[in-house]
């Protein structure tokens, strides 16, 4: 376990900022204690300092996970967000998409969101903007990338994709082994 390097921090923050913009600040400076990012087995964990100290007791090969896993660095040093980060993305998300109850399941099974299933969308979402996907009952379901801007969404036909799927909570079941 080690702190992130300069490059890694930059890559990760860039990725995060696609979803929560300048709200990243709120993740780092929290009123209830210091939180930090740590790299362990190519994965980035978001932990309170207090827990971090305790976790240093545990040898590297025996430590499985600590705090919340945000995502992992691929072999090509890109950062990929995991669904486990949703708990921290959802409250700070700038752009949101709500899907209709009928399309909920489709999304949770790993499919893109079609226009037909689109319930609501934040005004002036740009194309390729990172969005958090909610159900109509305001339960966060995952996140993705807007395939169309809000304006375009109004015009397109019902079977065209409006949000590209990136991660959804169905992964807790589908890919439990590779999750962290």
């Amino acid at each position: 376990m080690r702190p992130l390097t300069e490059d890694e921090t930059k890559t990760m923050f860039e990725k995060l900022s696609k979803y929560i913009g300048e709200n990243i600040k709120l993740l780092v400076d929290r009123p209830d204690g210091t939180y930090c990012f740590r790299l362990h087995n190519d994965r980035v964990y978001y932990i309170s300092e207090k827990i971090l100290k305790l976790a240093t007791n545990i040898s590297r090969d025996k430590l499985v996970s600590v705090g919340t896993c945000f995502g992992k660095f691929t072999k090509t040093q890109k950062f990929r967000l995991h669904i486990t980060a949703l708990d921290f993305l959802a409250p700070y998300a700038k752009f949101k998409v709500w899907v209709k109850p009928g399309a909920e399941q489709s999304f949770v099974y790993g499919n893109h969101v079609l226009k037909a299933g689109l319930g609501r969308i934040t005004e002036n979402t740009a194309q390729y903007q990172g969005v958090v996907v909610y159900s109509m009952a305001d339960v966060p379901l995952g996140f993705g990338v807007a395939a169309k801007s809000t304006q375009e969404c109004r015009r397109v036909d019902p079977i065209s994709i409006v949000v590209f799927h990136q991660a959804d909570i169905g992964e807790y079941i589908r890919s439990e082994d590779t999750l962290t």
């Binding site: 309170s48 949770v108 339960v139 379901l141 909570i169």
Partner: protein, 733 residues
Amino acid sequence: MGRKLDPTNKVKRGPGRKSRKQKGAETELAKFLVDEDTEPKRLSSRARKRAAKRTLPPVQAKDKAEKEPPQKGFTDENSEWLKPVKRKRPADESDGEDDSDSQWEQEEDEEEENTGAGLKTEEADGGKEKDGDDDDGSDDDEEMVDDYGAMDDADGEELLPIERAARKQKKLDAAMEQDSDEDEDEEEEDEEAESGSEHADEEDTVQANIDEMDRFKLPDSEEREKEGVLPLDLQSIHQRIKDNVDVLSNFASKREEGKERTEYLSLLKKDLSMYYSYNTFLIEKLLDIFPVSELIDFLEANEIHRPVTIRTNTLKTRRRDLAQALINRGVNLDPLGKWSKVGLVIFDSSVPIGATPEYLAGQYMLQGASSLLPVMALSPQEGESVLDMSSAPGGKTTYMAQLMRNTGVIVANDASAERLKSVVGNIHRLGVTNTVICNYDGRQFPKVMGGFDRVLLDAPCSGTGVISKDPAVKTSKDETDIQRSAHLQKELILSAIDSLNAESATGGYLVYCTCSIMVEENEWVVDYALKKRNVKLVPTGLDFGKEGFTRFKERRFHPSLRLSRRFYPHSHNMDGFFVAKLKKFSNTVPTTSAGEPAEEENVPAETETPAPSKGSAKNPGSKVKTKKPLKVKADMAKKKVATNGTVAKNLPKKPTDVLKKKGIKDGRKKPKLAKEGTEMAKEVKVEEKKEEGSRFEKKMGKKKRKNLMNKNNRMGKNKFKKFKKMLSKEEVA
């Protein structure tokens, strides 16, 4: 063009398809109705039968009485497999069977009255007639069954009932020879041998039958051998179990003369293991734990699944909201019980309960009711540091986190890396952020980390409480399995206690639980821990469940084991479970029990566990004080060991036992006694541990001290030893 196809004309041409069908049904129905109408006129079949029977000589009747019972059942060729359940049972029935018989009789009576035939005189005969009814009852039964089939072939009508019966008998004789041999004969022969000439006339048969209802005969050894070759069918075994239990539960009155209780018991064991397909070892073990009647309940309860329960994740939602959301999805649920504010029972569901969006969003966790209990007993407080020694699959861990509201620290450990994946998944899904997940062997844990406020030890076990979940347990476990897991549990509970910090302001608690109901894995382990460490049992805070055993067979446990709780599938409708809550009241005492003998007798470089060294380092003064009066004794013991190495190991055993008992009497307030008591066991253990222990304890111990006791007044290890040696020299001098 279209006019030619006038629909109105078509309709009138003939009856439609439907009407044709209905007509067929009508005729069918008419047949029945006619039958019923005609019946009273031609003197009901029963009446005719009875009349015929009266004319028969008593010998024939007797014959019939003897032969009839095996043939009870359906009369056509299906009879081999198609058996009316109640008929199947042997003649000596339970009370429940009586009722059903009397029901039959009642029905008959009613029918007779309805027919209005002059049968009243017969009824007046009362008791005498009843046995006839008994036999007739079966005949009636057959006739009723046959109504559709047999009535159709008209020749059946022509025959007299008695003739028909004879015919059926012949047919059946051929078909059911084997069956009857196996099933009934044994029991029947038994009875008949006993009752001798009971069948002289019909009245007596019935009387005898009634008598025998409460008298259960043990089959003798020959018959049992026969069973080995031709196994009984389950139904009759079940009946035999019932009778056997009945006899055993009031043995004095219902026993057979000259038969021992053990004979009954051995038959019962055999039957139980066959009927419920357990191995004999497990049945014997269970028989030690439960009284016979309760054992049956337990075994029955293991055959059915416990209700599915879920726990609301209060970190994300409230129970009311969750219940509403699930009800909207077509789930039928109810609150779990008064004792839990987060549990819900699922009765049935139109959607898979483990894959609803609510589940995926982490609003609830699928979790057995029983696994809520240990966490409730532990009742972790906000801001504490808690260790979950075997956490997979994370149900209890996440429950702890929600009780602590994501504050403090939870260390979730498990020995299996594979199973930890589910812990990781569940913890993230439920939005728990205060956990460290690691993959150590629990036995090494105090060397990794210590000073926890609370520890939950859900020890790996034989799983005898969750047989309904995993029926493989029925046959796969034997003595060695139990002992092996008991041994592991003892090691784990000690290391769990060593990981605790007794001086914690709010805690110092350990909850030990298993999903086994074996005494070896529960009370015995806790009792062992009470002897080895300075812990005491405290109430679990669960207001239901059965008290733990304080005595079991030849073993006597510490009386405070009453405070532990047992849960059974049959009495609480949750998995079999054991929960005990212990409080560690001193960090120092393990030093005297574990550390000292090791240092004095042999020359190991280190104490056995880091915890003792921690204690000693913290307050050497007090420790020395407790030690002083012991010095002489300890030295004597040491000399013994020195003079005759192996023999000495056995020698101090007797005093050990005595002292142990004393320790119990004194409420184990005196660590010296505890020390003496445990010295023996330690000797052996220390020797085992020396090889692996000394190697890496040094390292670990150092680490631990650094982490956990940053107090300034501690004494260096070497210095402390020197000091100790000096003292002991003085003492000897």
